[in-house]
Symmetry: C2
Subunit: 236 residues, 2 copies
DNA sequence: ACCGTCAATGGAACGTCGTACCGGAGGGGG
DNA sequence: CCCCCTCCGGTACGACGTTCCATTGACGGT
């Protein structure tokens, strides 16, 4: 209600004061990461992110070409959280360590796995991780011609794992009659009991195990098998 | 310009004739699948799908609760294309066969992998596949307590594989200066050459192999290692 | 033959999204 | 002092998913 000292047309609302310090691409990316953490990927819109940062949506476009590019940057920023061992130990152990780290970070922002799965991870911070992983393979003595394949294998497995955990959190009934979407393991059990056990005997029989399979244990289990399978290629 | 035989207010445009046969949920789902195949996932909107079917967007909502539910149904429909061996052969071979089939089908609709990764696959047709896979594990003699884990492992790997292939098709430069998105392996090579080889020596050295890694071979390679790792658990 | 019922359709509209356009504000160098 | 360059943000456009509702027409009962 009070006019500012400067004389001006009284009916004009005061413009918000100029931003103390112009915002930077980095600020935007970091803001997006924390927004992602708090509200999830599908709630992240340019407008909401902007108001989270105290700006207008269109202002973001000065620093960032497109939402897609922003997401690339966000993903890379997240990969920056992956911490790599300072000193090199036994190669295989280091390999395990870095895979666990990636898994840990991606789980911290579950949506990040979706990002990682939908776009290649070639930002500078992500490359840091790739570089380290390849190095571990080399130090391990893994044959060079096969490293690309082996790398794909473990990368697939790690990202895919987080992804599937994520999707299992929201179990959707997709049979022809029901359309509900629900979220916990009880509903899963309920779903299992609802379907004809003569048609899916194995599934019904094993469903108990399938339901209570622990994510971390499952990752560990798979990683063990996977590395065991790989180590047969090692030059003896 | 011509009025129809029925007398009616001449200025009223002729309503489109009533649909010869009311459309069904199945028609919609199948229409969505072919639309997906032709135009891709991100072009699939309710309006476009509707006009592809010769209806109005809002008419779809009589048969389907929500777009999300429709996607569930679409995914399950796609899983229906997975053909299972008629007669059971050697268990391990059957296991390989079904995984290859899933991979084949998911690759046919590359977007389907994204769907499969973002929602659990528990529709009736998908369950058919799960059921068969579990059966193969059992016949193989795999210890029951571990089947859930082993199943997760191979499922992750198969879906994750298609997903990563898909994402590698569009290599995005995500370093701080460029923002282009491009598509072929040449651009990839160009990207590799643009980055400091002293910072990422392994990556640069191996990039040739990483680039020309063939998807099918890569899948085969990983599958071999993976099953090798798993078969150590077999009751001898 | 009429009528009422009711599954099925589609137009209008709401709120949201990504983004283009552009008029300006502020500050620094001539 | 003025101009220019950087940065901001209001307005607006077209597309989206979805809700609401008026309307249609086929069918079963009388």
């Amino acid at each position: 209600m009070d006019g500012r000292t400067k004389v001006s047309a009284a009916w004009v609302a005061d413009k918000p004061p100029r931003r103390q310090q112009p915002l930077s691409r980095e600020q935007i990316v970091r803001g997006a990461v924390t927004y992602l953490e708090q509200h999830g990927l599908e709630d992240l819109s340019m407008r909401k992110l902007a108001s989270h940062l105290g700006t207008a949506a269109t202002s973001l476009y000065w620093h960032v070409a497109t939402k897609d590019q922003l997401l690339d940057l966000v993903l890379d920023e997240i990969f920056g959280e992956v911490s790599l061992p300072e000193e090199e130990g036994e190669a295989l152990a280091d390999l395990r360590r870095v895979l666990h780290e990636v898994r840990r970070v991606l789980s911290r922002y579950p949506e990040a796995a979706r990002l990682a799965a939908s776009r290649p991870t070639l930002g500078p911070r992500a490359l840091r991780v790739v570089e380290y992983t390849l190095g571990a393979f080399l130090r391990w003595g893994y044959p060079e011609e096969s490293i690309a394949y082996a790398y794909n294998l473990v990368a697939n497995y790690t990202i895919g794992g987080v992804l599937v955990e994520l999707s299992r959190q929201r179990v959707a009934g997709a049979d022809s009659t029901t359309d509900g979407v629900s979220e916990d393991a009880d509903t899963m059990r309920e779903f299992v009991e609802s379907l004809p056990s003569e048609e899916f005997p194995n599934f019904v029989r094993l469903s108990g195990l399938l339901v209570k399979a622990n994510d971390d244990e499952s990752f560990e289990f798979g990683l063990d098998r996977l590395l065991a399978g790989i180590s047969n290629d090692l030059a003896k």
